[in-house]
Symmetry: C2
Subunit: 249 residues, 2 copies
DNA sequence: CGAACTTTTGACAAGCATCAACACGTGTGG
DNA sequence: CCACACGTGTTGATGCTTGTCAAAAGTTCG
């Protein structure tokens, strides 16, 4: 399953470069990280809660999600990762995983030994800073999710989630403006929003009935962006889109 | 209100040293950061959402909380900070604040220009790594809060919050084992747990009735730790207590 | 073409919100 | 020193939002 290739990390480098200018030396060091590619099926585990971290993974293709088990039976999805995202920086640096990471779709990941990531961060300040920024934006999204689950009604929560995906996928160049393939089942949307699958189903029907979205199998089309933004109380600033423009220094 | 002093940051340095060994040079650079002390009353703002960051603040005494406004009227508290915590690393590095930071009690903060923090992180890898670790632990707590608000019932949410405070305050040496001063009003607990104040009141009464806790004004005593842990489904691993022991490298 | 998953439907129950009022303590100004 | 306002905690009655349980219909894939 493990297949070492060349320039595996080139797409990730390009993504980081949207935020930062790297010196040729930084770039070379990053691309020289010892990475191997691993292909995973839907539902494949990348990290299990309580694992001791040996590797640090980057998502190359497909989608993944991070989740925690609550009370032994309930599940809470705490984030969804898209192509190019780091999957487990926290686990790598903190040593022991406080949550699981699992594939939402089939896809490929790059696997890098933790030690190599720590070393490059220690010796290349620009890369350390890129990692920090990535982690901070992650944190910003977490905060918005706390607010989403804590203070919005069911319809609004779902609308918010759909808006977030639309913006993130488009920023990553993974989708058209108002239409994308929703990789999640209603069950998974329920676990991301803190609702039950039955209620999610009813709320999605209601969003459809009011002409905000339409669905066809797993593809979702936003028919009334402004309406969805309003019902979802969505404002993209927490995604820090300004960070996708390169900053001097 | 602004009063420059010497060795303002010494307590913060000591806190960071619990996680890391710093070289004398790192320590000197950190302590030499240009910081001034500012005293704030209860409710005083440290950062307002959408502010452009000029300073980076560390909490020296007292408690603070971070929150977002949802839908124009509701408020969601996304974290509570205790003595020694960085208050707005995210704002400093991301440039524009995605949430507000406000004092829970009266207290003092150290104010450091953003540029100085960025510079020291860039030139001192050990400090950059300490900042990254702090940010990652923050993120871990956010994830647990998403799970708390998303998948636990009202009693359980509140019990979980009370357990978290107990552990964090004790780790910071701010409280006795099973008793501490709860700086939050029931209104604020409601905003942290995504409930209404009325319901929080009833649930706290129920925790008291079952002999799990007792309260006297703002002081809280945990009378049955194991019971509170069980109803709160609490497990401290997400606080990464292992990080409070110094790690080599 | 059947097994396993996902979406949908309905009836019903429960948890939490809402509204409104009252009690209590603390600080402030007359 | 009392009167009063203000923040906080408490109580009760009522109803909406969301959960629960159970089953059917549609979809995907070997």
């Amino acid at each position: 399953l493990t297949d070492p290739r060349k320039d595996i990390l080139a797409p990730t480098m390009r993504k980081l470069e949207k935020r930062f200018q790297f010196s040729p030396e930084d770039q070379a060091a990053f691309l020289a990280l010892p990475a191997s590619v691993k292909r995973l099926d839907t539902g494949g585990y990348i990290v299990r809660e309580a694992d001791v971290a040996r590797n640090c993974c980057v998502l190359l293709t497909g989608f993944a999600y991070r989740h925690k088990i609550v009370n032994g039976d309930a599940r809470q999805i705490v984030s969804v990762q898209i192509t190019g995202d780091f999957l487990d920086l926290q686990n790598s640096f903190l040593g022991v995983a406080d949550h699981s990471v699992q594939m939402l779709t089939a896809g490929e990941i790059a696997v890098i030994p933790v030690r190599a990531v720590k070393n490059i961060a220690y010796s290349h300040p620009a890369i350390a800073r890129a990692i920090l920024l990535d982690t901070l934006i992650d944190g910003s999204i977490f905060r918005e999710w706390i607010a989403n689950v804590g203070r919005r009604g069911a319809r609004s929560r779902i609308a918010h989630l759909l808006c977030e995906f639309a913006v993130r996928l488009q920023a990553a160049g993974e989708s058209e403006a108002r239409s994308y393939t929703l990789a999640m089942s209603q069950d998974q949307i329920a676990d991301a929003t803190g609702l039950t699958p039955v209620h999610v189903n009813r709320m999605i029907q209601s969003l459809r009935r009011e002409g905000l979205i339409s669905t066809d199998k797993r593809s979702l089309t936003i028919k009334d962006w402004q309406g969805l933004v309003t019902t979802g109380d969505f404002s993209p600033s927490y995604l820090h889109p300004e960070m996708f423009e390169r900053e001097p220094q």
